[in-house]
Symmetry: C2
Subunit: 609 residues, 2 copies
């Protein structure tokens, strides 16, 4: 099976172009295909659905099995992962043909996008099969390979990359990625392995979908649709929900969310149109309470058996806003869509109400990111004092989390600390993308007790900006939020912080003292104006960082966005952390695959195989 | 050869203690012993010389072959490497017996010093042999294994650790390191692979040694001895030197240096005694110009064929100070020693004089390290302006380097930058120890051209200090120096920097503004006093760091320690570095050894084997 010499030798045999039939081959090198329903997760890779990825995760073997279906197979395919979806510095698996033979190999791309064979072959081909649908490749890879060239498959977002080879290439190194159809797809590969909770027997369903939307022929559309609960709809518990995606539109329906409108309004006008439309009624801006959220690649969302999300009944709005994000990079015209979300709910209320709590940073310009930064970190705290006051003695249980930043966010993590020691990651995404904000079930429920501290850190990239990026609601401003889903519901809706404004003014004074240019520190200037006038250099950047790591904070420990718990919440000391969680050392697979060396030859033949 | 089950199974067989004879076994698993004179480097590990290590380095295979001689072998031996010589978090190879059998395994110790078998066996036993001298183990290891538990063998100092097992242990995990005789030895494992330069035919030798020293029965002694060149000794070139270590004292003679005294003095009094003796004449403090330096594990030092170190002749002192560092942790009494250095020199002067240049930081308190820091970095610059002015158009060639800090130094590196881009490491030691300051030949000669920048960074650990550590001559103050040996000699003796004092005063003002406590910033207070009154916290620490990374510097671009080159040297901008050298990704050995799993059983038998 091994190719002893270089691929180029084989390539030298490449002569006349022949019709290539890739026929059934069971390389079956080692391991075997898992038994029934082996691939619970599916995602289209390209907007046309030519490539379809299915996969499963074995946490025992720390391995992912992939099944890649290539419809209309021509001359090969690239598939892999990279930090943020670039085709440079990517960890790749490549099936390519040189006209005579087909090869499968573990490869990597350098900073110039040139492809090289990996010295260690960590992707293992298990099967290559021709089916009526196309060519199916089955292969596996450990989460971690300990090869510094390989991508480490971690919790959180993974940026998958792909490329379609339309013609043979004489060798792997000769593949010119610039002529290929390539792209990226974001997905959570390491889905949690949680048993499906039992559903109540009296369960009802309700479909919230925007009927017959004519999807605009533009790359990005957020579609807003107002739906209404029946008159006199009593209080129920949502126990599960799942996406309804119109057949054929799987690759363009990117994410969907249902928001409940504010209870203050007796009515909300009907609307179905782009969310940025000038025709959109203002009241839709008050429909922000999340009821359900789904993103590409996600499956049904189940509440834990003891909890449900309350909706309906007195004191809650009858109006729901469905938001559908259409991602249409090929600008397909005339596509019709009626996607939405199916809610499963019950009138038999479960023991606990589920709640959503906001952790992270207050939306305020005092938290700012200097321009030209590759990885600047801002941190928001939920302090021991707030959890002490607001949480029940038995604590709360976080079972899901949705991370949120605006455009420059690159990583988000929330850590739980107790008695000054970091104990547990609540949720972490080192490849976070603002374009892929899923509610994710936690692999393990995290219990938060009174007195615990929750620390949420966001990493931003502002290399393309010239002015400071301040905190705020605007899309060009930033946020750092983790919406945690938990039970039992408490009045604490918001546990967030920001640096003390007095200390920030000391910072602007200091900048003035050290720099020849003047920053306006007079009271008339707004904080965004002050930040805009800072002459950014390493000193002003480093001192801002030092300030955020040191200065006291103002806490928002709130029952709702406006009502604070009683107590003194300004000039609070930063939580002191005496021991950090250790970075887990990536476990190298104990026994390596046998294939260190060349690519695997995949048998090729004429029509008869 | 593999033990299928756990070692404990084998251990259960351990019954009556039997006389153990470890007999000849040639495991000869793979690879073979290199041919003639295979081990050019030797070092005793323990002060009694029970363990003797020999080794060689293959840069082609990126592998070190070790030969460990265990005299009076009893029940086993541990050998390995760790960051700074601790037996915790060490990468170990262990030979142990359980009473019945002997085993060899690649192991590691956790933060509590408990020993565990490595899942990946990267140390490979090639031979275990009984000789009249003792038991000899031959094994090899790649520089880098890509196992996160393993030590990465790099250039610079390696802290070797050892332990002697006096009795059998039922299993590897049962080895209690606290009852063993253990210790550490520092050595440069990756010696450069440089062809020996040809020596002149008219070469003469001169031995500089302190005759018949009664080594004090204390752990550390620096012995000073004044020697004298013959009257009218003409100018010569030193072309080579080598250590002369009195037989039997190999383990206690730690390092030796020869310094030339200042030319100002017509005579220097004779002296032979501890360097810290009250009887030591003051004039010995003016004997600081290094002529030769040797440390444990080093071999002969050769000058490049085209250069020699000038000594003798008019304008240079006839007086030499030999300094011998005796390391006598067992406090052996009554040991006599006459060690020293043999100089090889010639009257036929070579084409170039070699010179020594000081890079790094000026000895001034303005450069300070806050207390309680694990890894605080200070950086000294040799700017483009200085090299432009002082170096010949064809540049200079650095062939050796000696790094120097005081007690808190942990890492030192000098990088050469050209046109704002880092180009080359001049010398780097990530496991630097102030107790092991060798002159090291560079693996590759580094050419420095006019306009180049040399950046020297030192990393300090002040976790055991309560006050700031300022720069200066005192042993409790700090230095950051790289003495580079180069040719052709130029008048530039010193190319060092320190932060501008005006900016440092701005820092003290800022500290006052941000903190409730007052730092005396009045002109009467000295800089050490000002640093002593800073209330250290993360902000004051981070801002000091930011200051050093930003503020302009004062350059010492000097012909001798007092005479500067002409020009403006204060308030110089920091050299701008637009691209850094990439950290080399450790290369994982392409083909792994076959032994992943248990330890290797080493055959054991009765007297006849």
């Amino acid at each position: 099976m091994q190719v002893p010499g270089s691929v180029r030798e084989a390539a030298s045999m490449y002569g006349t172009a022949v019709a290539i039939f890739l026929v059934i081959l069971v390389a079956a090198l080692q391991g075997s295909v898992p038994a029934e329903s082996p691939f619970p997760y599916h995602i289209p890779l390209d907007p046309e659905g030519t490539l379809e990825l299915s996969w499963n995760v074995s946490y025992v073997q720390e391995t992912v099995h992939f099944q890649l279906l290539v419809r209309e197979f021509k001359a090969g395919v690239l598939f892999g992962m990279s930090d943020r979806g670039e085709l440079e510095n990517a960890d790749l698996v490549v099936l390519w043909t040189n006209g005579d033979s087909a090869y499968f190999g573990d490869a990597w791309s350098d900073p110039n996008g040139l492809i090289h064979l990996d010295s260690q072959q960590d992707y293992q081909l298990l099967q290559a099969q021709r089916t009526p649908e196309g060519l199916t490749l089955l292969f596996k890879r450990p989460f971690s390979t300990c090869d510094p060239r390989d991508y480490l498959i971690e919790d959180g977002t993974v940026h998958l990359v792909y490329g379609i080879l339309e013609q043979p290439f004489p060798s792997l190194e000769a593949i010119n990625t610039s002529v290929l159809q390539t792209g990226l797809q974001r997905v959570q590969l390491l889905k949690p392995n949680i048993p499906t909770p039992a559903l109540p027997s009296d369960m009802l369903t309700m479909e919230i979908r925007a009927p017959d939307v004519l999807v605009p022929g533009q790359e990005t559309t957020y579609w807003c649709y107002i739906s209404e609960l029946p008159d006199g709809f009593a209080r129920h518990h949502i126990v599960m929900y799942e996406p309804i995606v119109t057949k054929g539109n799987e690759a363009i329906v990117h994410h969907m969310e249902i928001f409940q409108c504010a209870a203050e309004f007796d009515s909300v006008p009907r609307f179905s149109g782009p969310c940025d439309s000038k025709m959109k009624p203002d009241r839709l801006n008050y429909c922000r309470h999340v009821l359900a959220a789904w993103a590409l690649g996600a499956k049904a969302f189940y509440y834990p058996e003891e909890a449900g999300l309350a909706f309906g009944g007195p004191g809650s709005s009858r109006f729901l806003r469905l938001e559908v994000h259409y991602h249409n990079p090929l600008k397909i015209q005339g596509r019709r869509d009626s996607s939405g979300i199916r809610l499963y709910y019950t009138a038999t209320l479960r023991r606990f109400n589920a709640g959503i709590m906001e952790l992270g940073l207050v939306y305020t310009p005092v938290m700012a990111v200097p321009p030209q930064e590759m990885a600047f970190v801002l941190t928001g705290y939920c302090t021991d004092k707030c959890t002490q006051m607001a949480l029940p003695p038995s604590g709360i249980h976080i079972f899901a989390s949705q991370l949120h930043t605006h455009l420059t966010g690159r990583k988000v993590v929330t850590v739980l600390a107790r008695d000054g020691r970091e104990r547990q990651i609540v949720n972490r995404d080192d490849h976070y993308s603002p374009h892929f904000q899923e509610i994710r079930m936690l692999k393990k429920v995290v219990s938060v007790h009174p007195g615990d501290v929750l620390i949420t850190s966001c990493t931003y990239n502002t290399e393309d900006r010239t002015l400071a990026t301040v905190g705020g609601f605007g899309i060009l401003q930033e946020m750092c939020v983790n919406y945690v889903h938990y039970y039992p519901q408490t009045p604490l809706e918001l546990c967030k912080s920001a640096v003390d404004t007095g200390f920030l003014q000391k910072y602007f004074h200091l900048v003035n003292r050290f720099n020849s240019e003047e920053v306006c520190t007079c009271p008339q200037a707004s904080v965004p104006e002050q930040f805009a006038s800072v002459p950014w250099n390493s000193f002003n950047r480093d001192v801002l960082k030092a300030l955020y790591d040191f200065a006291p904070i103002s806490m928002h420990c709130n029952k709702s966005s406006a009502v604070r718990f009683q107590g003194e919440w300004s000039l609070q000391p930063l939580p002191e952390i005496i021991s950090k969680l250790e970075e887990p050392a990536p476990r190298c697979p104990a026994s390596r695959g046998p294939s260190s060396g060349g690519p695997t030859m995949v048998s090729i033949g004429g029509g008869k195989g």
